[in-house]
Structures are given as C-alpha cells and as structure tokens.
Symmetry: C2
C-alpha cells in the first residue's frame, strides 16, 4: 500500500525540515527570521513531468534540478539562500521508492547549500507529477543585482562555459552522438545545474545588471537589454566552450541559443576588469568578457573579425 | 491564437504585481522588506482541477479560494498578509478568457486584503490545471500562534459557524436539496472562504493554540491535541450552526467532520472568556465555546446532556 500524505510527510519530508522555523512541519505555516538590514529574495519555479524533465531522469536529480534552478534565480540577484517550500502534486502511479529517492536528492542539496525545507503541500493529481518550489534568500538592503542597471560602455561577462546543457539534452535525446567522459560531462550539466551563488554574492558591488542563463544566452541577454533600455555587441567567437563541447557540431549555436546552462550573464564597467579577473581566480570559475553594452536597442552578434552573424535555419551564420 | 507566456505575464499578471518588490515581474526573483522586530510567516497550498475544485466553478472564485486558503493559514498563525507568489501549470485547453477571469478574482482579493502578487512561474502541462500559491505574512517576533500550546483546563473555541462549506459542496454535487437564499449561502461558504485574519491577529495575546479548520473540526482538533500532547472534551450540541444549515439533515455531522469552513479553532485559558466575548462583539464575528482541553490524549464527544457520541456509518450517534 502506498504511503498516505501524513506518512509521506512524517517519513520523507520531516527529516528535510531541519530549520527551527519549519516547526517540524506540524503547523499551518513556517516562520522565518530575516536578519536586520537585509531584504528577502523570493523565487518560484515549477516543473512538470514530460515537459521540464524526462520521465526516466533519476528522481534525485529531478529534485536537485528543481531546487537548483530556484537557487540560480537567487544567485542572479546576489542573494544567499535560506530555505524553501515545496508543493508536490503526486499521481497515484508514483512509487514510494521514487519519492524516497527524490527526497534523498533534496537532502543532498540541503547539505551542499546549507539550507532546509521550511514547509509546503502535497496533493493528489490525475495528471503528471507537478512540482513547484519557492526558494527564499536574503541580500543586504539595496544590494540586490537587478536586470535594469546595464549602461552603455559596460562590458558583457559570462561565467563558466556555455552550451553544455543543450548539448547534453541533445545527447540524451539521441540527436547527438558523444561518447565517454565528454558524454557524461554534458549530461551532468543538463541534469545538475550549478547555481553560481558565491559569484552572485561577490558581484553585488561590481555588476550593474545580472541574470542567470536559463532560456539561452541571446534570450536572457535580451531580457537585460529590454529592462535596461540598451543595446549590445556580442562576440560569438569569444563564447567560452568546455573541452567536452568545443569540437562538437553546433557547439557555438548551443552556446548562443541553448538553455539550461544556469551560468550568470552580467554587465560591469570596464574599470572593474581587474577585480573580475581576481574574482575568477578566487572562485576558480572562468569569467569571460563576451561583448559590450551599447546605446540604442540593437543586439549585434559578430565573429572575431567583426563580421555580423544572423540566425539561419542551420544556426547562426554569416550573411 | 492563445496568449504566449510573456504576453500572459505582461497583460494579466503584471497589473496584479503592484508591490515595489515585485519589480514589475521583470526580474528573476522578488524582493521583500521585512519590518524590524517581525518574523515572516510562509504558507504554501496547491490545488488541482478536478481534485480541489469543480471543473465548472467560476474561475474568479477558484483564484480567490486558492488565495484565501493560504491567507487562512496565515490567519491561524496570527499573521498579517504581505503578498504572494503564484505557480500556474496551464493545459493548452484553458482559454485566455478563463485566465482573464481567474486574474480578475486575484485582483479583487488583492484590493480586499491589501496585498499584491510578488512573482511566480507559468508553465505548460499536458495534465489538469495545477495551481500552487505561496503566501507571505508577518507577525511580531515570538507572537505567532502555534498548534502546540494547548494546556489542560483551556477552553476550546471556534469562530463563525461550522459545516456550511461541506453542506454547500453536497448541494453542488446534488446530494442535498436546498433552495433559495440558504442554497446560495452554503455554496458561497464552500467556494469563497473568509480567512479570519483580524481574529487571528487579535488572538496573538489570548490564544494558547490555533488552527484553521480545513480538514474538518475533529481532524483539525486532532492536530492541536497531538502536537500539544493533550486530550479534549467536545460538546457536539454547542457547535455553532448557521441559519442556512441548522435545519438540514446531517448538519451536526457536517459541523463535526466536514472540511473547508476555514474558521479558526483555538484554545484559551478560562480567565480570557470576557476578553473573547468583547472581541467577538468588536469583530462582529461569533466566537463559541465548544469544549475544554483535558490531560491525557482522548477526545470525547458528548451531547448537551453529557451522553457520549461515537462515529457510526450514518454519522455521529449515541451508543
């Protein structure tokens, strides 16, 4: 017989609710003590089986991805994570063992990010497994990184490497043949984002705007440009590619347009270049300058020789 | 052509996001400024079409019920509401007009409760419409009402009237024939809970434990007794019934076991009776003493003559 809701909460969820304010999940709501001088930062992302994850993805990795995409939103705002609430709409066909592994994934990331489950809700659904997570973080008052602060003359920067997650998904879908270590690395990048929390917090006094790359570099850059009311020039040959990705067909297109990388894209004045190079060394995380913010509203994508690239049916190409 | 996600957010959701910290829904996350000396209170409830609401319920009332069941959780903790985040998993068959009415319901309650949408997520689903809402409130530090504070000798109190929502649902399902004004009132109680926010806040310095009645009086009383480690005696003939409910068959059973009333059940020392009677007059909301907290762990249900009632197949009856 499958676990009932109360048993599921008691056996699986209560051990994740280690924060005092979670009240052992026995109350109607959770309590959270904000620190004086801080603002709360709130992110909420939902995921649906068959839409946002593959049905045979490992349950622990689905849980960790759900948590991490929300933590990535906090990272993009420069916030430090505090905890989260989880809503889980559960079809009857989901086995207790599946949910046990799912909760093990949350437990692993609770330890990794020093956070805890605060509360939530579990309900039955006749539809697919549907997950919604609300992550809470904090930032010193007034220090949050926003999308609207980019100014003409700022450099465009990106963390880590781009395109890996999209290539990993293509690999899982059988659209791309990759073997060995490269295959494992790309799939891991798709399944297990690494929210750039330390970077986001370090950028509070450096970056003028920031976003995490979830929809793809060009789409997310577009969000910064729109909210900031600026344009940009982007050097497609400067995009950082991983050793696993760099020789694959479509790597540059994946870096330009592929989603799910969860790296940070940010803007900063040129006089902060030395600070950012020092920060990259301190965090052991590549930070790459990929273009500049311009007046106007156009986004121009060029190659290393300054030739314009345009979107074509086969990807981004010269005219 | 149905609205895309960005258009839906811009047209329907942005007007609901009137708080400064919502950042016009343009950023990765929302900001919230807790007041000094206060704790945040966080509630999260999910609802699934066909499970938690009837498919032909009016969309505005579905939205308001979703919001209000969460506000009711805040009320039970003694919190004042601040705002909320919404995740909406949308099947393609849901029409834009339906979503427009849904958002109108949120707008009406934003005005009624002086709150605003802070952020959230909208995703596609091949399954039923699935909604998850996270409500945020605040309470002076240390003043939250919890389930665990009931002590032997405390009175058991309940607000408003009980059983109306369950009888309203039976009416909608055709299981109960009610006509005219009574029918309308019972159905309204099922569709549109009234979160007892003013009462919850006033109880901060009076009640020893509190919960909102969502699962039914006996079930929710059971939660208080379990967490507080106490028992209780309950007078089934003292339960407050509305004029619409009092002459209907099964009214007392609905009051004992029916869910969805969203009244507050709370405990308070006998020396606070005069304060609670004054509070009931000030709020123009009946508060009724329905029993007492006892040592031990038994819950005894009696009638006005002290005869014990037991659950039977036809409801609660004498031995």
């Amino acid at each position: 017989m499958p676990e009932g809701e109360f048993e599921f909460i008691a056996r699986r969820l209560r051990p994740l609710a280690t924060a005092e304010g979670a009240l052992g999940l026995t109350d109607d709501a959770a309590l959270l003590d904000p620190r004086p001088g801080h603002q709360l930062v709130l992110a909420k992302d939902a995921m649906v089986a068959g839409v946002h994850f593959l049905p045979d993805d490992p349950p622990a990795e689905i849980a960790r991805k759900l948590l991490r995409v929300n933590l990535s939103d906090l990272a993009a705002m420069g916030a430090a994570p505090l905890g989260y609430l989880l809503a889980l709409a559960r079809p009857s066909a989901i086995a207790d063992a599946w949910l046990g592994e799912f909760c093990s994934g949350l437990a692993a990331d609770n330890a990794e990010f020093e956070i805890a489950l605060l509360g939530g809700d579990t309900v039955a659904t006749p539809g697919p497994l549907t997950l919604s997570l609300t992550a809470l973080g904090e930032v010193p008052k007034g220090a949050a990184l926003l999308r609207g602060g980019a100014r003409p003359g700022d450099d465009l920067w990106v963390s880590g490497t781009l395109g890996d997650a999209a290539l990993g998904l293509q690999t899982l879908q059988g659209k791309l043949e990759v073997t060995g270590e490269a295959r494992a690395r790309l799939i891991e990048r798709y399944r297990l984002p690494r929210p750039r929390l330390a970077l986001g917090q370090a950028l509070r006094n450096i970056a003028t705007a920031a976003i995490d790359i979830s929809d793809g570099l060009l789409a997310d850059l577009g969000h910064i440009l729109e909210v900031s009311g600026v344009g940009a020039g982007l050097d497609a040959d400067a995009l950082p590619l991983s050793p696993a990705a760099q020789d694959l067909p479509g790597a540059r297109d994946a870096a330009l347009s592929g989603g799910d990388d969860y790296e940070l894209l940010f803007t900063a004045p040129p006089e902060r270049r030395a600070d950012l190079e020092a920060l990259a060394r301190r965090l052991d995380l590549p930070l790459t300058r990929i273009g500049e913010v311009r007046a106007g509203s156009d986004l121009e994508v060029v190659d290393a020789r300054g030739q314009r690239l345009e979107p074509r049916s086969k990807g981004w190409q010269h005219f």
